[in-house]
Symmetry: C2
Subunit: 451 residues, 2 copies
Amino acid sequence: MNVIKFGGSSLASGSQLKKVVQIVKDDAARKIVVVSAPGKRSAEDEKVTDLLIGFGMKALAGHDYSSVLSKIVNRYQTIAEELSLGTEIIGEIRQNLDDLINGNKDEPDYYLDAFKASGENNNAKLVAAYFNKEGVPARYMNPKEAGLLVTNEPGNAQVLSESYEELAKMRDSEEVIVFPGFFGYTRDGKVCTFSRGGSDITGSILANGIHAELYENFTDVDAIFTANPNVVENPIGIKELTYREMRELSYGGFSVLHDEALQPAFKLGIPVQIKNTNNPSAPGTRIMKERQLSDQGVIGIASSSGFSSIYIDKYLMNREIGFGRKVLEILESRGISYEHMPSGIDNLTIILHSDQMSSEEEQSLLVQLEEELGADSVKVEHDIALIMIVGEGMRERMFTMSKAATAFSENNINIDMINQGASEVSVMFGIQAKHEDLAVKALYEAFFEKK
Amino acid sequence: MNVIKFGGSSLASGSQLKKVVQIVKDDAARKIVVVSAPGKRSAEDEKVTDLLIGFGMKALAGHDYSSVLSKIVNRYQTIAEELSLGTEIIGEIRQNLDDLINGNKDEPDYYLDAFKASGENNNAKLVAAYFNKEGVPARYMNPKEAGLLVTNEPGNAQVLSESYEELAKMRDSEEVIVFPGFFGYTRDGKVCTFSRGGSDITGSILANGIHAELYENFTDVDAIFTANPNVVENPIGIKELTYREMRELSYGGFSVLHDEALQPAFKLGIPVQIKNTNNPSAPGTRIMKERQLSDQGVIGIASSSGFSSIYIDKYLMNREIGFGRKVLEILESRGISYEHMPSGIDNLTIILHSDQMSSEEEQSLLVQLEEELGADSVKVEHDIALIMIVGEGMRERMFTMSKAATAFSENNINIDMINQGASEVSVMFGIQAKHEDLAVKALYEAFFEKK
């Protein structure tokens, strides 16, 4: 039995839903269908979830929401009309949206969460109706009915472990279950949404709950690529990927799926298959616990920018027990997290996300570091990009670093930092952000094009 | 005016002292001569300082010391006879050694320090006598008379800053001053020795005190070499080296000079010239504040072994603010210092000197780390060597890493760790200790032999 999840672009229009029903029909194992809210039909389009947030904010503030409410109803109506679904379902959705307005405004976070969650919830009802019309016996399943309980953290809910036993009962369903993604219910009966990863999290939780054989995640790309397709032209798709590799690539800047969303599935060793709704015959990418290692040590190249480095210099630093600890305490007292901290004899560099501090806060941090540590100098650099090469067994391959370093030098890219030695499946390079794309291209060429 | 220091092997015999007096005669600027105790004449020989420690220990314990005392007197006597110095100086030295026995045994550290210091002290008297005989007007200067005051830390004394003004007066001397290295006097008049670096420290302090134009350090090698001559056959000598490069090489395992010993000279920007007593016409190595950069980014390759790595793995580690700080607190509470701490998303590696812990202590540390950090796993690896390539401006040279990584891979040496990004003048590689020599050879070939 598979859990199969469709993203917003797969459900954005009637023509997309026709593909979806066909995909579900194609494999009898596809019994639990998790749906997102309708997404964008084109680059200029609006996501229903964004419209719902606008609707909720206006309702909360007591402003006129009629035009945005119409837009939302229209989106569902357009889909229903394309699919000749009749008016009943739209009446039901309209009623639900009207009811939201009467929520408890004393708890604005929960009030808004109910609006956000309705996008998935109403879409699940619509999809179930369409499946039945197309001869696929299906029923909409409300997360409350299914027993999907979450913590009281609006916008960042965590599943409660007692949910899994309840969710397992869905295995017994004769009909295909259409389940709204993105939210669950608190113990006291309130709607509460998940964080980023939204519906992916729901799919992953259900896969764990029903001990699925496979969690299929349908989106709008043929595969997870070896490099960002906006940077490298027609990069190779990745056929198989381990959980660890997925996690490193995701950290490194890959955005197809957020790996933490997949944890409930990973925990039971359930494979996750990425597929394209618009090209379901493409093999896609399978993310699994272990994979057959190929000759190619590197499986993907990721990059992300927006980092700063703080360089601290103090003579005899490495003799001073507690120096590194003091640095980290100062960061911690300011709620600042760091990514890496390479250290030399008399110096130490902290790499961190730039967006954690305003320039005033940064200035004050530099002064504090210099004064409290008695540093000889403290310098900051901005606009640093981290480039990551990822692959199981890569460390065993002597030539990986040689290839990578040569790719950098041949393209006149200076490496400001190298972090190798912590992770077994990745190496990270710090470079000037202006070279980010060039670096990714150069590494792609070195690892995937050169013979 | 130069300070010129001669090491133990330069003063081990009469024939060596003949070279020394010639060197002093060769340049009128050589006015302050710092001497060590007589060193080894051959590999099997004993250093006078080691004999003195044995002598002191026996005297302290009330054991029979007559044979070791004879050995010590004999060493001086042999030198005096070779130089036809007459018996007066030996009588003086013998008297001094006899007097040591009557020191205050209630303070054993100070008691022993007086024995250790006498090696340099008596040798300075002998050298001064010889200089005068050879027509070089010279006088022995006692550190107390010169005003070299130090902290009350036997075996690890630090110079007191008030000394420098007193020492400056030596500039006015008409005669060459022969100054014993290795010790000073506490404010309460006790002899107290320096730590490692011994006489190098004295020379450096005097260079600072008299604002020397140059601090010449005469030893038994032609130069500081680009790599360890025990590993690489006939390595190239380094002509010029910056203070920073010297420090990194010294940390990396170069043992010609301990860079911290040179700090008092470095502080005033005084250049330090390494020369060979046995080959004074060789240009040697000049250590200076800044140097003309050559095309060659790398100036030296150092290595040292005896390191361990502790690998800590915990899912979502990089989200946990304070994780690194907790790790460092645990180390600190055990008085353990670390060298490097590369970190990944879910993992962190600590590189440290293995000799800081017994295997029981190590086991207990691993358990503490796992339990207190809630780590998923904690693993330790021993027998790690750190290989360092050093050079000013190296980081600006794209090809450095490429060359180095290629040298490793061509020799089938796996790189377990790379630390680049903290120091501006070095990159460090962690490898298995069994590959240490091969790695140094491979890097030497890559940076100094290949065209």
